[in-house]
């Protein structure tokens, strides 16, 4: 018999496959294709304290092996989420992770305080949003800034806290250590890479914000390297993210040190992709005589 369960910070996942934030909405659309209970977990669309309308202009742009996005955290706000989306998610019998974004430390703390009182299982802190107060610098770039926001959130947070790292960090290993020191119970990585595209006919950037986020198979080798480096440097569970579109990708991340993985852009090319990945992992375990994923976790 094989065992696909994973325990991360006392939260039990049926299997290591989690839907990544922003690519899965609040699960409703995908629930028409498969029972969400089959997933290890779901990370919600990034939530901010107040409702946001998101960015103007082009929001997605295909590139070789992936896409650029500039959605701009369109979301119903923490209260809208609790009122309209959480009751549905609660019923799905899978781990619910609230992904929280923000522009100021106060906003992050207030958002987390509101979520403390709900049934969500974990919080995933997205620290790659522009920090307005720090003059446009992102929390996720400098390890010292990240330490500050994670420490403050840790004090307020009563749920297990995953910190989601940006691959744009100055030094991903220092960033990881800093977040763990500040109290992160687990780390997930990576978020999208800062990237851009230009329309050569109009001689203008494709995106109104110029810079957008790159995701998909084209980022996988870099994301894998970062998971590998980080998992060797810290002692907390790691959730691997970046360009995963099949079970082989998922196994690579687990071998590099990930306890679980998230599937992001892959959901766009096949709504059932996570189910295929889960089944692929199970088959691989049977074929290779692996009883528990711990046997291969971090073996590299």
């Amino acid at each position: 018999m094989i065992e696909t369960k994973v325990n991360i910070c006392e939260v039990e996942f049926k299997n290591p496959v989690i839907a990544a934030s922003g690519t899965f909405g609040f699960g409703r659309e995908y629930s028409e294709y498969f029972p969400l209970s089959r997933l290890g977990g779901i990370s919600t669309k990034g939530l901010t304290l107040e409702k946001r309308e998101g960015n103007e202009g082009i929001r997605i742009y295909e590139t070789t092996g992936g896409l650029l996005n500039s959605i701009g955290l369109q979301n119903p706000g923490i209260e809208g989420f609790i009122r309209e989306e959480l009751p549905f998610l609660e019923k799905q019998d899978t781990v619910i992770i609230a992904n929280v974004g923000g522009s100021t430390i106060e906003d992050y703390v207030k958002a987390v305080e509101k979520l403390n009182e709900t049934s969500i299982d974990m919080i995933e802190l997205n620290i790659s949003c522009p920090n307005v107060k720090e003059g446009g610098m992102a929390f996720g770039i400098k390890a010292e800034t990240a330490f500050e926001v994670v420490s403050q959130v840790r004090k307020a947070c009563k749920k297990p806290l995953i910190v989601k790292l940006s691959p744009n960090a100055e030094n991903i290993v220092n960033m990881a250590k800093s977040c763990v020191m500040a109290g992160a119970d687990a780390l997930s990585l990576v978020n999208t890479f800062s990237a851009m595209a230009i329309d050569i006919k109009s001689r203008k950037p494709v995106f109104d914000n110029i810079i957008a986020g790159l995701s998909g198979p084209c980022i996988k080798p870099i994301a894998l390297r970062m998971v590998y480096e980080v998992s060797r440097a810290v002692d907390v569970p790691i959730v691997g993210i970046g360009g995963i579109t099949n079970y082989k990708d998922a196994i690579e991340f687990i071998m590099a040190g990930a306890w679980a993985i998230q599937v992001g852009s892959g959901n766009f090319i096949n709504p059932n992709i996570s189910i295929e990945i889960i089944e692929g992992i199970e088959k691989f375990m049977l074929d290779e005589g692996i009883k528990n994923l711990e046997e291969i976790r971090g073996i590299i």
Binding site: G22, I269, P271, N272
Partner: protein, 247 residues
């Protein structure tokens, strides 16, 4: 539960005008395609991850167990699709989106610009009412014969004058004769139609770049009078008053 991407087999795939193709597909088993006029499918004609995203195409017609799409070759994705031969397979997800409102009364006009003609055959067929059809093209007109079988009058325009009125289709459109207007084409054309039809019911099919096609990624949103809407979910058909609001 809905099915995910499913394989379909190419019956025919022909270039009916320069860069305009008509593809007919069937499922390998004896199954019929679902879908209302105005709804669309996401198509993938590639197994590898490049191109990465599927491409949205409107249902052009469903007859028996066969679905038809009419498409213009624009970039790599549609180029891939245009290279398919009978017997080849591709994958499709759908039907998606809301589709046109068929529950209408009064005199009806359909106005299309260029490849915006794609969803209109199925619409005419499904309305099963008296309809006047206005279709504008840049240089070369297509699908006129197919349309003639379903409507009372066809009005054609080409910008180069090769067929029908020389100029834009909105030049010869007479809004006072109609109560309900369906339109699909370039946004500027649809805006012109809307401005000519104040006070009438105008339904328009919108386009936007899409990733998921099912409402999850928020990549395809547009601003409307009633807030931010997803073209793939609340659309692609919107009423003119929703889309053209000026604050």
């Amino acid at each position: 539960m809905k099915a995910g991407y499913r394989k379909a087999i190419v019956n025919t795939n022909a270039e009916i005008a320069s860069n305009i193709f008509e593809i007919k597909l069937s499922y390998p088993k004896d199954e019929n395609f679902q879908g209302q006029p105005g709804q669309f499918y996401m198509l993938k004609a590639w197994e590898a991850l490049d191109p990465f995203l599927p491409r949205p195409l409107s249902i052009s017609n469903i007859v028996g167990d066969t679905i038809t799409f009419l498409y213009e070759v624009k970039g790599r994705g549609t180029q891939f699709i245009s290279k398919l031969h009978p017997g080849h397979t591709l994958e499709l997800l759908g039907p998606l989106g809301n589709g046109f409102d068929l529950n209408i009364e009064g005199n009806i006009a359909i106005i299309s610009g260029g490849i915006g003609i794609a969803p209109m055959i199925y619409l005419m067929k499904s309305l099963n009412k008296k309809v006047d059809f206005y279709c504008g093209f840049r240089d070369e007109a297509y699908y006129i014969d197919e349309i003639k079988g379903y409507v009372d009058s066809v009005f054609v325009s080409t910008e180069n004058g090769s067929l029908g009125h020389k100029g834009f289709i909105t030049d010869i459109f007479t809004p006072e004769k109609y109560d309900v207007i369906f339109t699909c084409g370039p946004l500027a054309m649809m805006e012109k139609v809307w401005s000519m039809c104040k006070g009438k019911k105008v339904y328009m099919s919108m386009e936007n770049r899409m990733a998921c096609g099912i409402g999850a990624c928020l990549g395809c949103t547009i601003k409307t009078r009633y807030g931010i809407k997803r073209v793939c979910k609340e659309g692609p058909v919107f009423s003119g008053e929703e889309v053209f609001f000026y604050d």
